[in-house]
């Protein structure tokens, strides 16, 4: 069964640091008033033009196995390939900020308002991620039981195009979930339209299943090692 979830832009407004980081500005750096002003107006434009919406659909282990396998282009061994087998529940998801905000970014570029266009792009990228995060929290909350039942359990999201799960995995995901219902389509090249969209799987289970070493063959090429922080965060209140 699939579910459509709507979000207010306030709920998914990204924090300042993640936006500035997307602009290549390191955390804690002092910025000019002009940059503060740009950030404020980009956030304003985000509230005006962003339409955050998402979709989830519970999926069985067998069906997810097939989605994950996709066109057979994954790396031999991947974290998701191991983790999902030990999951209690799985759900596919797609979130998007809609086409309007992307059109607005384009318009700003065309009118030579480069700095604002680029700031809005960074806000929207961070907000798309935040929408996926809020969707993950809602999924966790809606399925959670008592405090003791939740002890030691966690929901985390994983996306095709990361950690050895080939980006072509999105085809099966789209065939199962049909996010066209929320206005997201997949191009031949596996690019989602609108641009500010994220797809993936929510994996729920014991906290430990999400732990893995960053020693897969493809980890060598990964510049961020974002997985380390995600795993650490599982053990923070």
């Amino acid at each position: 069964m699939t579910e459509v979830l709507t979000f207010s832009t306030g709920e998914v407004e990204p924090d300042r640091d993640s936006v500035l980081q997307n602009q290549g500005i390191p955390e804690g750096a002092t910025v000019t008033d002009e940059i503060e002003r740009l950030l404020k107006s980009a956030i304003g434009a985000f509230h005006e033009h962003g339409k955050p919406v998402g979709m989830t659909g519970e999926i069985s282990h067998v069906d997810f196995g097939a989605v994950y396998q996709g066109e057979g282009r994954n790396e031999d061994k991947t974290p998701v390939g191991d983790i999902f087998r030990r999951a209690e529940r799985l759900a596919l998801f797609v979130v998007t900020l809609g086409e309007r905000i992307c059109a607005r970014i384009d318009e700003l570029f065309r009118s030579s308002d480069y700095a604002l266009a680029c700031m809005l792009d960074s806000v929207a990228s961070a907000a798309a991620d935040k929408t996926a995060e809020v969707l993950q929290e809602r999924y966790a909350d809606s399925r959670s039981g008592s405090k003791t039942e939740n002890e030691g359990r966690a929901v985390l999201r994983y996306s095709p195009g990361y950690c050895g799960w080939h980006i072509s995995g999105q085809r099966g995901l789209f065939e199962f979930l049909h996010p066209e219902e929320i206005g997201v389509s997949l191009k031949e090249s596996f690019l989602m339209q609108p641009l500010k969209s994220v797809s993936g799987v929510l994996i729920a289970g014991a906290r430990e299943i999400h732990e893995f070493e960053d020693s897969y063959s493809f980890c060598a090429e990964c510049a961020t090692r974002g997985c380390r922080e995600r795993i650490r965060a599982l053990y923070r209140e």
């Binding site: 602009q23 940059i35 970014i105 480069y114 680029c118």
Partner: protein, 211 residues
Amino acid sequence: MSVLAEIKDGLVCGDDERVSELTQQAIEQGLSPQEILSESLIGGMTIVGERFKEHEIFLPDVLLAAKAMHAGMEVLRPLLIDAGIPSIGKVVLGSVQGDLHDIGKNLVGILLKGAGFEVIDLGNDVAPQSFVDAAKERGASVIGMSALLTTTMPTMAKVVDLVKERKLDSRIKTIVGGAPVSEMFAREIGADAYGFDAANAVDRVKSLTTA
């Protein structure tokens, strides 16, 4: 301060209105459009580019300066065309077929313009043939391609092959960039250069056009 220095200063501060007014004033004072362009506008953007590379300023500062440059260029362009003054080089730019993402490509275009290049922006989802046709028809010496996903990268190879097939490779150089693209990939497909960010793209394009 001379008006040329004032324009340069306004540009570095990202004050587009001041740059526009002062450019008009400089023309009225009889300064040549070429002088205003190279001394104040390109000169200003060079300072901005250097400061950015040295991490003294951030991307938004560069983009505000670029907007100011654009404002000055709006005033100068008709005069430059009338005087038949060519740009320092022409670059065809686009995101490759299947790719709708163009922020990275746009940033590269903005900085190339800032350095004095004429940029022919084909937008996104650009077919290999269109890159080559546009470069040939418009007399561009560089084709710049951008990709967001690994799945659209093979199209870059098609453009490089097409340039060679049509025996245009002595005249038209290719440069690639984008999140998943690397120097190694550029070498593998036989592209002439790779740029890791917009400032680096300008340096690489300059070395391609002066080589």
